[in-house]
């Protein structure tokens, strides 16, 4: 590992510390919103908490986890030292300082604007500058990943880049493209407004730029989970990856199609016509392709493992899988949550039908299942898998790990299934309290209490997770070296350059973004939105 353990552990612990705090806040929020918490907390505290929860989960947990895992992959899969390790530490400290800079105004109540950047309501400039620093720190990571892969390719001409590294670099490039939108919005619109340099803002443009980032960012969070599906899960299950080529193609498709679809977050917005909305809905249809390919490829890989372990019949291989291993268990549970979350997403993206669920609890349920469910449970599994490598110690027992994963799954399902139901009945998002005296809302009460119970289970799981990692740090058992990454059934000896790098795909992303976002952005250059006066929270 050549001394990158400290680097990885530093990133991962920042990620999971933010995660634990955010879990406590999230559970508190659910209490406040439920009929049980009618007189608890004030709206000011509630929205401060939502802001902190969103920022910690969406920006800190994800970015730091992905960076830490990426460094681990670059060193273990490429079998060469990490290039530019001082830069990696610089990125870490930039991110951490940025996080602290953002948290201070949040705690002071000067940034209760939630974690989405929707001016004219703007928070303290420090909040935004801090988050820009987090993103800038992650850009260093992106460059290091790209450099690591490029150097390896130069030393190993003609050989296929290890799939796990290919996937990690795909995510790094995706992230560079993704952040272009929000960075433009923050630097040219939001931060000048928050600083008081300008008094008005073009809201149509700012929402469009944020939408550029809004969908692809979720894929940035998800790709480590997919990376684990393709490269860690088949090995943990004792099988092989069904197809290495499909893995590469999947990550390429994610890079291509997760970007030009952001306007499906603006389907209910008045600043875009139906034409561009339809085009992006169609493209959104295609972003399901890599996920559906993954479902099949990974099921087939698991089937190989199950059958090698003696499973028979059409479904016998499922029972034969080694479910006692955390990675396998997490993958199974992640797929179930991905199924439910994907179903919710299918409804969300359906053009006019988005009107039925937009900004309701349905949407909250959807992204908690996809991100909080599938992605985060795989973060847990990845952490459990690589922690022994990082610390040199082995888990004394796997039982608490399995319990933690099950709790997370059960909690997430109990929390989000009622949210779907409530969303369909019109329960809206982002409110501090509901008037349960209203006859329509009164009927929602019991379901809100059920979802709160789910939240409590999730909190228990989060605390158990941190406990499991602490226990491991003190575990007397020493880790035995064991391979992590899965072989393919047919390991490729060489692949076309198109599947071994990203040159072609970057060109295609540029073309797609020009077609998908050219007119939506250009229309504000031709006829700007009438300027809206900035409303500052300070």
């Amino acid at each position: 590992m050549r001394n990158v353990e400290r680097l990885c552990l530093a990133h991962l612990w920042v990620a999971f510390t933010a995660f634990t705090v955010a879990c406590v806040l999230g559970t508190w929020q659910m209490w406040v919103r439920s009929p049980l918490g009618a007189k608890v907390g004030t709206p000011s505290l509630y929205f401060m908490s939502v802001t902190a929860h969103g920022v910690s989960m969406a920006y800190v947990l994800t970015t730091f986890f992905i960076m830490g895992f990426g460094y681990f992959v670059a060193v273990t899969a490429l079998n060469r030292p990490l290039p530019g390790k001082p830069w990696a530490w610089l990125g870490f400290w930039m991110g951490l300082i940025g996080f602290v800079m953002a948290v201070i105004p949040i705690v002071m109540g000067q940034a209760s604007v939630l974690y989405t950047f929707y001016p004219p309501l703007t928070g303290s400039a420090w909040f935004y500058i801090g988050l820009v620093l987090v993103v800038a720190g992650s850009w260093i990571w992106c460059v290091l990943m790209i450099v690591a892969m490029a150097e390896w390719k130069r030393e190993n001409p003609g050989r296929p880049v290890p799939l796990v590294m290919f996937a990690t670099v795909a995510n790094a490039i995706l992230w560079l493209w993704t952040t272009a939108g929000v960075a433009t919005e923050l630097l040219f619109q939001v931060i000048p407004a928050a600083l008081g340099l300008v008094q008005t803002v073009d809201v149509g443009l700012s929402r469009t730029l944020f939408s550029w980032t809004l969908h692809a960012i979720v894929y940035f969070w998800l790709l480590p989970a997919y990376t684990a599906f393709y490269t860690l899960v088949p090995r943990a299950a004792g099988g092989r990856l069904y197809s290495d080529t499909m893995g590469r193609l999947t990550f390429i498709l994610f890079l291509l199609y997760s970007l030009p679809v952001g306007i499906h977050h603006l389907l209910m917005d008045p600043e875009h016509g139906t034409g561009m909305k339809f085009i992006q809905v169609l493209l959104t249809g295609f972003v399901t392709v890599p996920t559906l390919l993954t479902i099949f490829t990974i099921s087939a890989s698991m089937e190989i493992a199950g059958r090698l372990r003696g499973g028979r019949g059409v479904f016998g291989w499922i029972a034969a899988l080694p479910w006692e291993r955390p990675m396998v268990l997490a993958a199974g549970l992640a797929f179930v949550m991905l199924g439910f979350g994907g179903f919710g997403g299918l409804i969300n993206m359906a053009y006019g039908m988005n009107a039925m669920v937009h900004n309701t609890a349905w949407v909250t349920a959807h992204f908690h299942l996809i991100f909080g469910g599938s992605a985060v449970i795989m973060y847990f599994a990845i952490a459990y898998e690589i922690w022994p490598r990082l610390t040199g110690r082995e888990h004394a027992s796997l039982a608490p790990l399995r319990l933690q994963l099950w709790l997370w799954f059960v909690g997430m399902m109990v929390m989000t299934l009622p949210w779907h139901w409530l969303g369909l009945h019109g329960q809206w998002r982002r409110v501090a309290n509901f008037n349960y005296a209203d006859p329509i809302i009164a009927g929602w009460g019991p379901w809100v209490v059920v979802s709160f119970a789910g939240g409590l289970v999730l909190l228990a799981s989060a605390l158990l997770f941190v406990r499991n990692l602490f226990v491991l740090h003190r575990s007397p058992a020493l880790a035995l070296p064991r391979p992590l990454y899965a072989l393919a059934v047919h390991p490729p000896h060489r692949v076309p350059a198109a599947l071994n790098g990203f040159g072609l795909w970057n060109v295609l992303v540029a073309i797609l973004m020009l077609l998908a976002y050219g007119w939506p952005i250009a229309q504000f250059a031709i006829a700007p939105s009438p300027a809206a006066i900035v409303h500052r929270v300070q």
Partner: protein, 276 residues
């Protein structure tokens, strides 16, 4: 295999480039054909729109849905306030001269509102530390007749716009007395709740959502803490009865008309005590 030139993969690349580009472009073009041409034209025909209008609507060049006719407009009535928050107005406020403001205050305002903005009688509002935009709006509304007061109407009419901004900026810069607010325990819990939580059942937002400094609420919302109890109660009653109506979109009229006399009294005492 060991010779890198043999495994040079570029020969395999040509078809990838072609097919990937073709596939990507086909999908986008199909989307454009459906979304920008076929769907709007078909929808427009059903709604009695010509194809050109329907396509322009789909592209967002013309307003309206390609599937529906646009409703007709209405005639303009008299507004409740002439004040608009434009960058120009905010600029005037930002560039106001407090020295000139002070001179005007000593000349006109001092008799009732005091040199430091601490008023001499309970029916006049304190102006020290009030928000500049709030003072600006009220003076402007007196001037335009949106708000009526036997003394203020004539006084405001004699002021021109930069002077209004100067006076607003001067009083805004005067310090609050900042007394130690009494403990909340002296006030009924329902008043504190009205301020912090509002009343969801009656659709009343928390007072603090607008009247606490720096919450990002309406620009003209005045700061209420340390305001005179008598003045606050008077204004809430005037809003409730509709006697005062210069609140844009009747925000305060709607809220005040739902408050009970006890709540009006409690809220006035709450803010007079200096709570933020």
């Amino acid at each position: 295999m060991s010779d890198p030139r043999l495994s040079e993969p570029h020969v395999l690349d040509q078809p990838w480039r072609v097919w990937a580009t073709v596939a990507v472009l086909t999908i986008v073009l199909a989307g454009a054909l459906l979304g920008v041409v076929i769907i709007p034209v078909v929808q427009g025909r059903a709604a009695g729109l010509d194809a050109f209008t329907a396509i322009c609507r789909a592209l967002g060049i013309k307003p309206g849905s390609p599937a529906q006719p646009q409703p007709s407009d209405r005639t303009p009535p008299t507004p409740v306030s002439q004040v608009t928050w434009t960058p120009e107005v905010l600029q005037v406020l930002a560039r106001a001269n407090t020295e000139r403001g002070r001179a005007k205050v000593l000349e006109v305002c001092v008799a009732c509102h005091g040199e430091q903005g601490v008023s001499v009688a309970p029916e006049f509002p304190h102006l020290n530390g009030q928000s500049g935009p709030a003072i600006y709006k009220q003076l402007h509304d007196y001037q335009s007749g949106s708000r009526v007061h036997p003394l203020m109407t004539d006084i405001a009419k004699a002021l021109d716009e930069p002077v209004i901004a100067d006076v607003a900026a001067y009083y805004a810069g005067q310090p609050k007395r900042n007394p130690n607010p009494a403990t909340l325990g002296e006030l009924p819990a329902n008043i504190v709740q009205l301020v912090e939580l509002g009343d969801p059942n009656r659709n009343i937002p928390p007072c603090a959502a607008c009247h606490r400094p720096g919450v990002g609420g309406p620009i003209e919302a005045p700061i209420l803490h340390e305001q005179g109890q008598n003045y606050l109660a008077l204004q809430l009653k005037a809003y409730a009865s509709g006697e005062r109506r210069n609140d844009v979109y009747a925000r305060m009229r709607t809220i005040a008309s739902q408050l009970t006399p006890a709540e009006i009294d409690g809220l006035s005492r709450y803010y007079a005590a200096g709570f933020r």
